[in-house]
Subunit: 386 residues, 4 copies
Amino acid sequence: MTSGAEDLSKRADSFIEKADQFAQRHLAPNAAQWGKGIFDRQALFEPAGAAGLLSLQVPPEFGGLGLSFGDKVKALQKLAQVDFSAAMGLVNSHNVAAQLVQASPHALSPLYVSHLMRGSFVACTALTEPGAGSDLGQIQTTAIRNGDGWLLNGTKTWIINAAHADGVVVYAQTQEGSGVKGIAAFFIRADSPGFERIAVATSSALSSMGVGGFRMTNLYCEASHLVYEPGEAFSDIMRAINRARTYVAAMCCAMVSQALTDVSVYGRERSAFGRSLNQHQGWRWQIAQAATALQAGELLVREACDLIDKGCEVQIAAAQAKLYATSMAQTHLGSLLHAMGAEGFLDRYAFLRHLTAAHTASLADGSTAMLLERLAIEFRPKPGAI
Amino acid sequence: MTSGAEDLSKRADSFIEKADQFAQRHLAPNAAQWGKGIFDRQALFEPAGAAGLLSLQVPPEFGGLGLSFGDKVKALQKLAQVDFSAAMGLVNSHNVAAQLVQASPHALSPLYVSHLMRGSFVACTALTEPGAGSDLGQIQTTAIRNGDGWLLNGTKTWIINAAHADGVVVYAQTQEGSGVKGIAAFFIRADSPGFERIAVATSSALSSMGVGGFRMTNLYCEASHLVYEPGEAFSDIMRAINRARTYVAAMCCAMVSQALTDVSVYGRERSAFGRSLNQHQGWRWQIAQAATALQAGELLVREACDLIDKGCEVQIAAAQAKLYATSMAQTHLGSLLHAMGAEGFLDRYAFLRHLTAAHTASLADGSTAMLLERLAIEFRPKPGAI
Amino acid sequence: MTSGAEDLSKRADSFIEKADQFAQRHLAPNAAQWGKGIFDRQALFEPAGAAGLLSLQVPPEFGGLGLSFGDKVKALQKLAQVDFSAAMGLVNSHNVAAQLVQASPHALSPLYVSHLMRGSFVACTALTEPGAGSDLGQIQTTAIRNGDGWLLNGTKTWIINAAHADGVVVYAQTQEGSGVKGIAAFFIRADSPGFERIAVATSSALSSMGVGGFRMTNLYCEASHLVYEPGEAFSDIMRAINRARTYVAAMCCAMVSQALTDVSVYGRERSAFGRSLNQHQGWRWQIAQAATALQAGELLVREACDLIDKGCEVQIAAAQAKLYATSMAQTHLGSLLHAMGAEGFLDRYAFLRHLTAAHTASLADGSTAMLLERLAIEFRPKPGAI
Amino acid sequence: MTSGAEDLSKRADSFIEKADQFAQRHLAPNAAQWGKGIFDRQALFEPAGAAGLLSLQVPPEFGGLGLSFGDKVKALQKLAQVDFSAAMGLVNSHNVAAQLVQASPHALSPLYVSHLMRGSFVACTALTEPGAGSDLGQIQTTAIRNGDGWLLNGTKTWIINAAHADGVVVYAQTQEGSGVKGIAAFFIRADSPGFERIAVATSSALSSMGVGGFRMTNLYCEASHLVYEPGEAFSDIMRAINRARTYVAAMCCAMVSQALTDVSVYGRERSAFGRSLNQHQGWRWQIAQAATALQAGELLVREACDLIDKGCEVQIAAAQAKLYATSMAQTHLGSLLHAMGAEGFLDRYAFLRHLTAAHTASLADGSTAMLLERLAIEFRPKPGAI
């Protein structure tokens, strides 16, 4: 390792430690209440911004930390150990900052990026629509040329942060019938005329994720607020979605890791039938099984992160990491919860919130059905004599 | 079937249908709100009493319906399809009515049973303590002779209905060091001096189950309010616990049954990639797998019910039904939720509430670890030449 | 129960006990050797005939035992506990006897049934072809009118008993392009000109099942040897296949039952780390899990048997029993094998032979894919308010 | 990478390719026959020696290839894709060569290593005894000082290659009651007086693994043939067992990899219901699931290999790799076999042999129970704020 790389690595490690502290100081005391639906975005985004958590991958020349993708993922895991939903909310707003820097360094970046990094302005990315979950070619939101700008019409739903975002990157069809080629991306403000939020009535366990929807009625978007031209948006979505699959997988691993910690601590303290829990063989084998399954998940995540940081094709690795990690988390958060007995159901632990989160993770950024389809179609046997 | 039996069977069927209607009219409109922690016992117990749901197994000569155990279970399944937690709350109060009729037909029954059946008085059964989940011999609550009556001291936790009960059947140790032989049961009122409720901070998805705890400090219980003498309580607990395991298993099946209904309806309506969901083979195979697993669960439940109604030994059958059905529900409520896409996460469906409930079910009335232990120890190979 | 029914039930029980003895005396001493491919049909079929095992469902007026389907299944389970493959071979020849009695009581029955019941003549049923596994409409074997009789041409493969059968019920297409409607069934003798056996090179663990194939080249079949007319054969196949699915499921359960017996005996005798195996909690929980899974399988089988004996529709129940039981056997024969340590790999036990058999069972009489498809398409939510 | 490292890597890759060719030319034509118990060691060991497969990790200065552990594992995977049992036989004899070079470079190495590398002399390692599977402290074989040498008495069983080995590294207790500290290792010849082979009657699918046992009665071992002094043998066993767990895991992955190749080729060729198999969604999702599970296994193996080649502690990583990979192979070899339909049961494929092998792998070098116990006891939560 060169000395420059060593410095970078030390800085990253130190930052990941800070993320851990943030999780303990700012997320842990709020998580149970947020999990009951009493969420206040002020308590999350501005402290996170101050801790650097909204600048992770923004390049240093734009005021960010310039972390690698792999290090960003490690920081997110620290947050997700305590509150998966809050971590999802933060990374979504962060991603818009990183995206604006790259796609619009001169127009949009100066206007929004510093506010996004501070957490005083919260953003999100809006793809999903009521009738088009996974099928991008089916997007019904339209963007029609209007003078120098565009008029947007349509409805988005199941958008992370939509319940409280100030700005949204909206994906819309610019040319009916053109499929994914006509899709462009626009940055719109929630205070624009024609923007109306729509609540999504779902589990309060997800309130810090801010899941919601909105309707755009003849919403005017200036030319300068075009993020991706038609034809460019789709490849950006694909690139972003592989990354999102990877960090969602990582965050599922993080929830299981925290559960294992809680269970192993509890197993030393609590006794049943005259012995501590961890002296019961059946009980402790559940830990061994969960730890093994978790390790497999962590390695799949690390593989995808390495490919991303090397600029390699990651579609298969990301899909495999997500497919494995979401299912693993659903299974082992359950078995670890049972290993806690009734104690695990207390609000002071994350088991129940995280179980709901792990199921949400199966839907986010490519459902299990889509991942299976993709992996099945892309499967190629290893080379070698047959 | 004799004509008397036929009449009984018709009456039972008609009553089960009424339970279904009650679930749709009284539980369905409230379930989402209750699931967010906004529960009002008035909205549940009195309407349920009016519908006969608190009289199921109370004998006709005491004003009840006198249903068989198997028919009671079918009625509970109708409730659990909509709200497992509410069904658990109702059956717990109901069970106290049936218990008082049997154990104290002349003293306690005249005082409480009609109120319990109407739902104007709510009761529960209190076994679990902070330090003794599954290990009955470890009960720390004491009952000491005091004049004609008893003085009770101790703490109970994770008690269904404890958050709002008017009366409690408390299990307490009358003679230190005597293990299960010294345990007796007492009926106490929540308005007695020395009774203090303790909240249990847990998932709001369980609010209609009223999970809570209470502390008794020198609480005086009259002699007439003794439900079971020392030495009698334990066999009552064992009998009750086998029944509870059976109906908990049945209610887990009911949740999966409702989920299958929701998914199959949705699969006809919703389309993806140009076809309805149920035209996708991978999607519809999940239904086949869940339906098969559910049928196995239903048959295990039916077997246990038949043994109970015939007065046979049911310990193994009840443990197997619960072990299988809780695990099956956790697996298939998850896979069926995913089959709904984001739609399944809406409050109008029960998937997320029921997933939490299915995990709770693994703890209630004998944890998975206890059931495995019991089944392992009791295992006998089938007779036959070896 | 009427006294006639009681007699019948006693006779059946006594016969099932005899089947158990036959398994111990005739199958157990041969099973390991047969499992290595050294099979002699003399050692199986004639002793089985003498014990009545080839007359189970043949009506008493034709010299058979006239057992119910449920009792036949119990007898088959006794055989399958020791050697699944041999049991499959026997039941296939038996089924032809029962079929000839029903379909051709005056022509074919007098010629063959007594020999079939004695085991001196062995038969099988031939449906599968090299290019048509599960898709009956695709049968390529043709039967063309020739004078009073028929000329058969075509190839069958994966036929149980084909390696050593004297007679075969062949399903053939009588009218190209007519799909299942044109299929008829013919009884042919293996010593007919134009009949040529084709070996199937597969696991020696299946040798007592006699899996093989044959080719028919202008094989002449007399009119009297037509078993089912075109149009009648298909419904017979469907009826037979539901029964076969049920007994295959039952026999999978029987293999797990035997494995549980072996494991529980071994767990008392063998010690590790200073204690008998069954004093290790993790070890004994595997027994509890297998016993529970087995019980679910047994109940699904019993349900299907009851429907068959009542003459009810059994397609769904039979498919569910087979889907569940084959998968359960594959999982638990594996886990129980591991519970035996290296001991379980010895030829004196059936674990490895039975594992191969359980995987074969997934293919026989409707593959897992076909069952899932059928169950998915036939799924109907339970009635009740939604 | 330095140019020396690059050369090494190229040589390793080219050697792994040669291993692949060896598998196709020498294993593939024999595998089915060997799987039926007709094994001739001449056909395996000498050709393997000629191909360098018995010299993998022997250092170049002793005439070997000097491959890293990771590269050895890749070569073994090529063999195991075709015949797991043969690969196990080869690696066991190879390991003795590498062991003698290290433990006895001047005495035993000159006598045996060149013959071992050529395959003209076959060896094995003997630990397991009839009464002591996994519990090393319980070894009953004794070695007693006798003049300059030792007298060995005892019985070994379930030893790979024992059926045809010329030499054996025997682990024996030198001092009763001293537990693992008294265990030493001796190199004995099968032609020594007092050496008697004992057949193990097990599946013929394992014949190329040469599983067997032997009895030593006052067998004299010269001082020069002591491989490890008392006190040294145990740490060697532990080191060897972690490596063995790793390559067994790798070879389980290799079997699944071959199965995936076979299935994907077959899925393009075979059609059902008018479409190729891989056009059926349910069918192709099984491939996606198996490929994902396999990738997780491969990464666990790679992690363990990297730790071994870096000289790091590998106990946990090796145990996790084996625990995961054996279970994964048992599950997915089964599901992939079913995806082949009856075709997969043909001798020309390895599915059935490999299923048996994958279950054997669960017992070899540390049973699943032992691995769970080890992992449970060694589990430590990740550091970080709690």
